[in-house]
């Protein structure tokens, strides 16, 4: 699931345009982003608060199994890293 401050409408456009099939969730006031301590204050267009990039693999019990916190937002988790991490899931 992908999570950002974008509205459901913006995420729908992105999802359709790119042909993504996974779920996109909208956190317009960055409440969940704050709860996960991922807020990047003022980094969006016009000084809007946005999320820093981060990926979490959560197991069926809701426990974090793998985290990827990039140090450079040009660098994101690669599919093969996630697939390797997902092998640990029961």
């Amino acid at each position: 699931m992908a999570i950002s401050v974008d509205s459901p409408k913006e995420s729908r456009d992105l999802r359709e345009q790119q042909g993504y099939t996974f779920t996109f969730l909208s956190d317009p006031n960055a409440e969940v982003i704050r709860r996960y301590d991922l807020l990047h204050a003022g980094a969006g267009e016009g000084g809007k608060d946005i999320s820093r990039p981060a990926e979490f693999l959560v197991d069926a019990n809701g426990v974090v199994m793998w985290v990827n916190m990039t140090e450079n937002y040009w660098v994101r988790a690669r599919p093969e890293q996630v697939i390797e991490a997902a092998k640990k899931l029961e």
């Binding site: 999570i3 729908r12 301590d37 820093r52 981060a54 426990v63 974090v64 985290v67």
Partner: protein
């Protein structure tokens, strides 16, 4: 009549080509995006051409116009290169520390958010709802900057 200083123009065009192909093409592949080595290589080649071009323009007998043109094209190129390097290696690293983010072994805080069809999705419910009759194994949460 002095020969056309093609190196200065080639260096200028290669600078912008080398930089613009990043957002237009090379950003799509992790191996050329995470570290933009193809674009840096193109820009390095452009700098070599610019240096040769500037040397030619400042040889004796060249017009003032040729010198001014070489200087302007080189400065524009260097400004664009500087902006790219700043964005890639300094700006992109300005990220919050996020020390309070959930760690491996910790429970991921539960949440409810709207999906693209305005339907409420709750993490804990998602993890306990069977998919095609089987219990889900987990979920990947991808927080991203968004397109604002």
């Amino acid at each position: 009549m002095k020969r056309f200083n093609w190196q200065i123009w080639a260096g200028f065009l290669l600078t912008f080509g080398g930089l613009l192909t990043f957002p237009l093409f090379f950003v799509r592949f992790p191996s050329t995006r995470d570290f933009p080595w193809v674009n840096l290589l193109l820009v390095a080649l452009a700098i070599v051409l610019l240096v040769i071009g500037v040397k030619r323009a400042f040889q004796p007998g060249r017009s003032k116009l040729a010198k001014a043109l070489a200087a302007v094209l080189t400065l524009l190129s260097l400004a664009a290169i500087g902006l790219f390097v700043f964005s890639a290696f300094i700006l992109a690293r300005q990220l919050p520390a996020s020390r309070g983010a959930p760690q491996v072994g910790q429970k991921a805080p539960d949440f409810t958010l709207k999906d693209t069809s305005e339907k409420q999705v709750t993490l804990s419910e998602l993890l306990s709802t069977p998919i095609n009759g089987a219990k889900p194994k987990g979920v990947l949460l991808v927080f991203y900057r968004g397109y604002w």
